[in-house]
Amino acid sequence: MNAMAEPLIRMEHISKSYGRVQALDDVTFTVNQHEIVGLLGDNGAGKSTLIKVLSGAVPLTSGEIFIRGQKVTLRSTTDAIARGIETIYQDSALVTQLSIARNLFLGREPIKPPRFLNRMDQDAMDAVARTLLKKVGITKDIPPSTPIGALSGGERQAVAIARAMHFDSDLIILDEPTNNLGVAETQGVLRFVRGARDSGHSCIFIAHNIHHVFQVVDRIVVMRRGKVVADDIDPKRTTIEHVEEVITGMAEETVDLGAAPP
């Protein structure tokens, strides 16, 4: 089928400059369907800018973005979400004072009839929340009425991922989801990410910790100084040391690094 062969996301010749600083320089980047892509690079390599462009947070200077082969213009984060691109920044995506259920449905709260009373269907929200928390692999019994502020960092990530899954985001972008998390929590988040892929979503996984990236991604893309320097590294056929060399620029290959000797 043609639609399946077409990548989910195709960003072509993307450039972005802030004044005289060239943050992205002719970047071409794709995400296939049902794929977890690890996006790596040192500080200032352009990862964050690329993600901000894709999530609609900043406008691009030049280049084109295609979703399932269709050219799109992303004017705002709301725009991107409506097109199925959900970005999860640590902490910033949830309202800590609100409950899990209310966060899950924020902006899309189901209404009980009669509609003019504008009354939220709390039971329906709680029921979905319970199912979703199980689906992303939270085994502890957390009531959906628990405020986000009472959850651990990993559980918050789980709620954000669950929300993206429930609202059928095709692409879930995780920006440093394992930062400041303990070992068990990190394993939990990695499990949520795999779970999201297995239920048909694609992910972009950004993390400083290469070990975490290796555990979960299907393909690694490396950026350096605003350019993509490697875009097809298979984590199963290479070593962490080699990827580190590509990130720092000690290994200069830009083609098919997947075949590099260990």
């Binding site: 995506a93 609100l98 899309r108 209404i111 502890k140 957390i142 009531p143």
Partner: protein, 328 residues
């Protein structure tokens, strides 16, 4: 997270502290002077309480969304002045004057909201400026003199807004029912509705709310309009009850109202708000004002008690907050 016992959950509620304080206050004043709970005294206390209370209810929603409004006191003075000036000059009927006053209030609220959300100026500065503009207008229009209001007494609108009737020896103003209706309605909006969820989210994390498609700016603008209209409504009720539309009335009410709201457990920073708490906060401050006079403390000492209550309640809320988070 383990399930808490019923008692623990009750204590963790933000309304618990204010509730205990109100009970202690009532018991204390009653112990010193039994007249404190006489029907006459309760009726007197309630009549003015509900007028400030109406403003406090709207302010609760506005503060939950992360903003506040310092111009409510001046609106409380300005709206009745506008209504009575229109009526006394023969320009409009009382009904039309009433509607015009509320519409003007809504427009002023709209301007407040527009400055805060579109020009990104803090609500403190915007509404402080508006306070001066509105109060100045009221003084300028009237040359500083009160407007005649005695012709209102038997008008149907006056009866509906603040007409008095007796339950036995207990005198009740219609305004009490307006206050109760507003409390139930706004409590419902904040806790049960989608709009309530948006108000909480706008105050808790505006960026997260925006990212989910919540129109944070429109929510806040609507609440600024509600706040201005409630202040106008309360001012008009007060002017009919006291038979005076004084351009200076309502001076300082903004701070008393904000104090009522925060004592009730609504966060000054937004994201957390309780209408029930505000009703308790309103009662705590008004009962305090009434009670200290009744037990013979000079009225001038009132602010000392109010200040102490605010500090005490803030300490309690912060302690509960920390305890709540430490326990999970």
């Amino acid at each position: 997270m383990e399930h808490r016992s019923l008692a623990q959950r009750l204590i963790a509620r933000p309304e618990f502290g204010p509730f205990v304080l109100l009970v202690v206050e009532l018991a204390g004043f009653w112990a010193i002077n039994h007249d404190f709970l006489s029907p006459q005294n309760i009726s007197n206390t309630l009549s003015f309480t509900v007028e400030l209370g109406l403003i406090a209810l709207a302010m609760t929603l506005l503060m939950t969304s992360g903003e506040f409004d310092l111009s409510v006191g001046s609106m409380f003075g300005f709206a009745p002045v506008l209504m009575w000036t229109l009526f006394n000059s023969g320009a409009t009927s009382l009904e039309v004057g009433f509607v015009v006053a509320l519409v003007v209030a809504a427009l002023i609220g709209l301007v407040n909201g527009w400055f805060v959300t579109q020009l990104k100026i803090t609500s403190f500065l915007v509404t402080l400026g508006m306070l001066l503009v509105v109060r100045g207008t009221a003084l300028f229009v009237t040359d500083g003199f009160p407007q005649r209001t005695w012709s209102a007494g038997t008008h149907w609108l006056a009866q509906v807004l603040v007409g008095e009737f007796f339950v036995g020896t207990f005198r009740v103003y219609m305004s009490l029912f307006w206050f109760l209706a507003a409390a139930v309605l706004l409590g419902y909006v904040l806790t049960q509705t989608r709009v309530g969820n948006w108000i909480l989210a706008s105050g808790g994390n505006a960026n997260a709310a925006r990212a989910r498609g919540v129109n944070v700016d429109r929510t806040k603008i609507a609440l600024f309009m509600l706040s201005a209209m409630m202040a106008a409504f309360a001012g008009i009720i007060s002017s009919i009850r006291t038979s005076a539309a004084n351009p200076n009335s309502g001076t300082g009410y903004e701070l008393e109202v904000i104090a009522m709201v925060v004592i009730g457990g609504t966060a000054l920073t937004g994201g957390r708000g309780t209408v029930i708490g505000t009703v308790l906060g309103v009662l705590i401050l008004r009962v305090m004002r009434n009670g200290i006079v009744l037990i013979g403390v000079p009225g001038l000492a009132y602010n000392i008690f109010i200040g102490a209550i605010i500090l005490g309640m803030m300490a309690l809320h912060s302690w509960l907050e920390r305890r709540h988070h430490a326990g999970t």
